[in-house]
């Protein structure tokens, strides 16, 4: 049971920016995709969802995604983009309900909001919320789809440290319940702390995959970010990296 991509080539116009990418997100795993700005992380996520054109094979639980109907695909795969600009001032309840409409089984808006600690925002309008509150509410909308796989583009952006930790802890718990989660983030330490698997997208469009302990070493970090980092080991924990 996995979301798989093989031989995926993605580009803008006739210029490919990612070639022959092989990628796998296991059901029940929490992985993070990291890389420098402009490496193509968001584009790769969009290509996996199908909102950006790509060549190659994408499969959901063994079935080619092109053979799944759009609704079935949305029931299996939830996606939260980096930026959302609603056309009108939607209420929180309205925005979560849009996700619930896609779900195969009925789901309550309140329980979706509760899962991201945002049930007190139910009757507010999206445009009244802080950046962090908005991200949590939008995530609740994606969770309301009850997907088997979640692709999140920088869900922790604009969240304070406490809410970042809460969100990643929550994502890890969701993965333990069987969801396959792939999350784009810039925070290597946060990702290493919570994720089972890290994927580094290098400037040469190569993907380095491994556990946090495997990837938080000098060579993959330098190849990906073009910088040297100090790697601080911790007993029984993944190391912490700081810029040198």
């Amino acid at each position: 049971m996995a979301l798989e991509a093989s031989g995926l080539t993605v580009g803008y116009g006739n210029t490919p920016i990612l070639r022959d990418i092989h990628f796998r997100v296991e059901a029940g795993s929490f992985s993070c995709l990291l890389g420098p700005n402009g490496a193509g992380k968001s584009t790769l996520l969009r290509a996996l969802v199908g909102t950006h054109p790509s060549q190659g094979m994408r499969k959901l639980d063994g079935a080619p995604m092109t053979e799944l109907g759009p609704r079935k695909r949305a029931q299996l795969l939830g996606y939260l983009p980096q930026e959302i600009q609603p056309a009108f001032s939607l209420t929180v309840a309205e925005s979560v309900e849009l996700g619930a409409r896609v779900a195969a089984k009925p789901v309550s808006i309140e329980s979706s909001l509760r899962s991201v600690d945002a049930e007190d925002l139910l009757h507010r309008h999206l445009n009244e919320l802080s950046g962090g509150e908005r991200r949590r509410v939008l995530l609740a909308g994606v969770l309301a789809q009850q997907p088997r796989y979640l692709l999140l583009d920088e869900p922790a952006a604009m969240l304070d440290l406490g809410h970042q930790a809460e969100l990643f802890d929550h994502l890890r718990k969701l993965s333990k319940r069987g969801l396959g989660i792939l999350c784009v983030t810039h925070d290597v330490n946060l990702a290493a702390q919570f994720a089972d698997q890290l994927h580094f997208l290098t400037p040469s469009a190569k993907i380095l995959s491994g556990t946090p302990t495997e990837l938080l070493t000098d060579a993959p970090l330098r190849e990906t970010f073009g910088h040297r980092f100090e790697i601080l080991p911790r007993e029984n924990h993944v190391p912490v990296i700081v810029p040198r």
């Binding site: 609603p86 001032s89 209420t91 925002l121």
Partner: protein
């Protein structure tokens, strides 16, 4: 601290709108240059033969087609404006933003200025200003849709629509410049919008186009909600964004073309109504669109009643309804804007 926002008040809204429609329709039938007692007139109109009719019945038989057209026009313009605001993701979009009304008006101007263009078949006019307006409104719509195929960006379509409006506006002025001066009055009358019809045949002429446009809109009513949140998320949730937008543009465009061809441009209904309703209906189109039809229809019925009954500086001809909707709608829209800010 989180302050809960007011829940949209939904249940009584349709009751209020239904009541407003009934009152507007009754007033539109009963009042005008001559007032009639409505219930006896309706009874006679239904039960008596035409040679037994009273004055009231005759008046009613003239007002009923006009009220029908007015209700269709108000409803269709309000729905078209609501759909276009959602599809173009712009609260300033109106049924006329895409240039369809200007294209239609150009078609009407062409036939009004040069009646020789009117082709007859066994003495029956095949092309009238109204068919000319419909032809060019649909041509304008086709132009807009072909532009939408090239541009995925909603603002691109909006700007193209505004440009088309200017182009057809300039073409209208050119036609006006070339026309015989004695034809100018009828052209001016057209451009100010009018709901004058005397037969059910004319009143129901927009209906087929409204039905086709309405079908395309209703078919995509749930997808429209997803589009209003975010186009990329909508696509990820299974909405075929490109196809849905095209169908909605075509639907809204057909509603506008159908109305403009029959009445000329009547402004502000399509801009004002969606803004007035969203605080009460919320953003779900399954509530917003029927409410927009009802309020748009009632608003235009009242505006037309005022246009028929208000006399300015002793003139006995009725005031063009397009002027009145702008005079009423403009300040109301500004009030809504200030209240929102």
């Amino acid at each position: 601290m989180n302050f809960p926002a007011a829940q949209p008040r939904r249940c009584p809204l349709f009751l209020v709108l239904g009541l407003a429609t009934a009152i507007a329709l009754s007033f539109a039938l009963a009042f005008g240059s001559v007032s009639i007692e409505l219930l006896p007139a309706i009874y006679d109109w239904w039960n008596l033969s035409e040679d037994q009719w009273s004055t009231g019945t005759h008046v009613l038989s003239l007002r009923l087609p006009r009220a029908t057209l007015t209700w269709f026009a108000g409803g269709a313009l309000a729905v078209s404006g609501t759909v276009l605001q959602s599809v173009l993701r712009n609260g300033l979009a109106t049924p006329f933003t895409l240039g369809i009304a200007s294209a239609g008006s150009f078609g009407a101007f062409l036939w009004l200025a040069f009646p020789a263009l009117g082709v007859t078949w066994f003495g029956m006019p095949l092309f009238t200003p109204r068919t000319g307006a419909l032809l060019f409104a649909i041509l304008g719509l086709a132009l807009v849709l072909s532009i939408s195929r090239r541009s995925r960006h909603p603002d691109g379509l909006l700007l193209a629509g505004v440009t088309l409006s200017f182009l057809f506006g300039a073409a209208m002025m050119l036609v006006r410049h070339l026309a015989d001066p004695f034809r100018l009055a009828s052209m001016d009358h057209w451009i100010m919008g009018s709901l004058e019809v005397v037969s059910f045949q004319a009143a129901l002429a927009p209906l087929p186009w409204i039905l086709i446009g309405g079908f395309l809109i209703v078919k995509n009513i749930f997808a429209m909600d997803q589009l209003a949140l975010d186009e990329e998320m909508a696509e990820a949730r299974g909405v075929a964004v490109g196809a849905v937008k095209k169908q909605l543009l075509l639907g809204a465009g057909l509603l506008t073309a159908a109305v403009v061809a029959q009445t000329g441009p009547i402004g502000f209904v399509g801009l004002l109504i969606p803004h007035a309703l969203r605080p009460f209906t919320g953003n779900a189109h399954r509530r917003l669109l029927p409410a927009a039809w009802l309020l748009g229809g009632a608003f235009l019925l009242f505006a037309d009643l005022a246009a028929r009954t208000v006399q300015l500086s002793g003139r006995h001809s009725e005031l063009p309804v397009g002027i009145l909707t702008a005079l009423i709608g403009g300040p109301l829209f500004l009030r809504l804007l200030f209240r929102k800010s």
